[in-house]
């Protein structure tokens, strides 16, 4: 049985990255029915900026922060510049964010070239350690830790604070929350920006694992979309569960039947949506 601690670690570390990209998308999706096809671009920009900063300063923490901030700035630009005026116009949102994704992909290809770039993990996280009888890369274990901490943090903010209650209430019934005097637009803007920040951090953290190249954005976008619909729109716990499921399925199928990994995840998504159109932990609309 090749499913041992090693593949568990690989799967869970991938799940951490997926969660970082998907959670913002999910909440934005659930809150405003906003379809952001530029999510992968936020990851991409985070990865590239992180790579450059790490290259020039040699400081990994700084690189992760820079990647997050770069994605945050792009997110602010998208939200303030365009999205605020496209409420509930799904087709225009798709067209616009696809346009942004095209531009980001071309600009990054212009600056960083078309070859995949990979970052070496910081000194103390290189090498491997032994876990339950198998050797696993230290950096992957670190990723799982970061992912878990951020997941708990996001879950706490959204499920246990008053501000999070606004967000969840907005997902359930936006008109009612508006009537109660909550500025849903502002809540939405903040959620969007936090989501962008997390995606950028994910991009920078992911560079040592997935690398960055033109096309990473599309790959991450598609995976994040699956996570979002699988977990249910706007559900943080759904995003956590779905990230783990998608990443584990992907990893396991990749070991047994490498060509089919792509297919398996989509088949899973299609199956879940056919049986439960609202996703695993989503509420029926």
């Amino acid at each position: 049985m090749p499913v041992n601690a090693a593949s568990l670690v690989i799967g869970l570390s991938y799940a951490s990255l997926l969660f970082l990209v998907a959670v913002g998308l999910s909440v934005v999706f659930g809150l405003m029915r906003f379809i952001n096809l530029a999510t992968g671009s936020l990851y991409l920009i985070g990865g590239y900026i992180g790579w450059s900063v790490a290259r020039s300063t040699g400081n990994f923490l700084l690189a992760v922060l820079a990647g997050g901030v770069a994605a945050l700035l792009l997110g602010i630009l998208i939200e303030r510049g365009f999205l605020a005026r496209l409420h509930r116009k799904e087709l225009l949102q798709v067209c616009l964010t696809l346009g942004v994704a095209y531009i980001v992909q071309d600009v990054t290809r212009w600056i960083w070239g078309g070859d995949p770039l990979r970052l070496r993990p910081p000194e103390m996280l290189r090498g491997s350690l032994e876990l339950f009888g198998s050797v696993v890369p230290t950096y992957r274990v670190f990723l799982i830790g970061v992912g878990a901490v951020l997941a708990v943090l996001v879950w706490y903010v959204l499920e246990r604070t008053k501000w999070g209650a606004y967000v969840r209430a907005g997902v359930d019934d936006i008109e009612m929350v508006e009537c109660l005097g909550v500025n849903v637009r502002r809540v939405f803007a903040i959620v969007f920006m936090l989501g962008a920040l997390l995606s950028g951090i994910g991009g920078a953290l992911g560079t040592p694992v997935t690398g960055v190249a033109p096309g990473t954005d599309v790959q991450l976008l598609l995976m994040a979309l699956i996570v979002v619909v699988l977990g249910g729109l706007g559900s943080v716990s759904g995003a956590i569960v779905a990230s783990v499921i998608v990443a584990m399925v992907d990893t396991v199928v990749r070991t047994f039947w490498p060509q089919a990994s792509f297919f398996a995840v989509w088949a899973l998504a299609a199956l879940v949506l056919i049986v439960r159109p609202q996703g695993l932990l989503g509420r029926a609309s």
Binding site: L91, L92, C95, G99, D106, V229, L273, S285
Partner: protein, 349 residues
């Protein structure tokens, strides 16, 4: 009122006749390369128009329409490769395959709305992509099926070049298909579709079988997309997984939106714009992807109803500059969105 209606109809007949005449003489004036681009534009016009039936008329945001396009392509490719079926029969079977695929997937995707519909159509398309990719010994995997013989109109052989010959074949098929689509959207069925987009519950209350109407629209759109896909496979002489890829569906979606979703000629204009941008701009700059992206964004910001509304938009702007009342009967956008909000509120109560 009758007079106005008659004049408008007369104008659109003149427009269609002029367009057809221009397209018919195009091979006489255009060299080979622009003619093949024009052929591609014709095929994508049909593809985008079929998607518009869902996107624009029925309000169903499908991001998986390439599934039908690719199915049509693979049916044509497989029939040509294994059985040597003549083009007319192969295209007909491709259309039937498109309808069958739509009839099978329809009951599942039509359970969802809005964003979920978008993702579910995307997922199913990706599953189909995966099947084609993995089923190497039939579909050729990522190598696809090369060497599909291009059909020719027999009475034109020897009189015009091969490119022009296929161009005329595509022109005839696309023209007939577009005319039939025009008939469909003007029929009571087409009007019911628009009604579903605007307020499905209201139509249901009037006794329309809304689910059946959407199901039928989904099948019809699948049929036309498969026809376009089959033509495209003949045009390229090749069919591969790229013709199922969701990127193609996204491109078609953008064509519809850039041209004008929910208008009859909008998708045609969109396919002209997007393909010309791709082929012309890529000739003189490497940065055409960026330019395409900028065009998408500017369209959304400046012409949210698509390029088809450009003349009206310009008229509005000019009359606003002159501080006069708008020339035509225009609906104020604020009023409409308020109306929508009220409608929603009523619907929810």
């Amino acid at each position: 009122m009758m007079m106005v209606e008659f004049l408008r109809q007369g104008r659109s007949i003149v427009f269609v006749v002029a367009l057809l005449a221009a397209l018919a003489v195009a091979p006489a004036v255009l060299p080979t390369y622009p003619l093949s681009v024009l052929t591609e534009i014709l095929i994508f016009t049909l593809f985008a128009m079929s998607l518009n039936l869902l996107l624009g008329y029925a309000g169903l945001p499908s991001l998986g329409h390439s599934a039908f396009f690719g199915t049509g392509g693979y049916v044509v490719g497989l029939l040509a490769k294994y059985y040597g079926t003549p083009a007319a029969a192969a295209l007909l079977i491709a259309v039937v395959a498109g309808v069958v695929l739509a009839l099978i997937t329809g009951p599942f995707v039509l359970r969802t709305h809005g964003a979920y519909f978008l993702i579910l159509t995307l997922s199913l398309t990706q599953v189909l992509f995966g099947i084609v990719w993995l089923w190497r010994n039939v579909t050729g995997g990522d190598d696809g099926l090369p060497g599909i013989p291009t059909p020719k109109l027999p009475f034109l052989i020897g009189r015009v070049s091969d490119t022009a010959n296929f161009y005329y074949l595509a022109l005839v098929i696309v023209a007939v298909a577009v005319a039939s689509l025009g008939w469909i959207v003007r029929s009571p069925f087409g009007l019911a579709l628009i009604g579903i987009r605007e307020n499905e519950r209201y139509l249901e209350g009037l006794g329309y079988p809304t689910w059946t109407i959407k199901y039928a629209a989904y099948a019809i759109a699948g049929a036309y997309a498969a026809l376009a896909g089959g033509l495209f496979a003949y045009f390229k002489g090749f069919v591969g997984p790229g013709q199922i890829s969701w990127l193609l569906a996204g491109e078609a979606m953008v064509m519809v939106i850039v041209g004008g979703a929910g208008t009859f000629w909008g998708p045609a204009l969109g396919s002209v714009l997007v393909l010309l941008l791709r082929y012309e701009v890529s000739a003189f700059t490497q940065r055409w992807v960026m330019i395409l992206g900028i065009v998408f964004i500017l369209t959304v910001l400046l012409l949210p109803e698509g390029f088809i509304r450009l003349p009206k938009r310009l008229r509005d702007i000019r009359s606003r500059l002159r501080r006069e009342a708008p020339t035509g009967p225009t609906v104020a956008p604020v009023g409409r969105s308020q109306e929508r909000a009220v409608e929603r509120a009523i619907e929810r109560s």
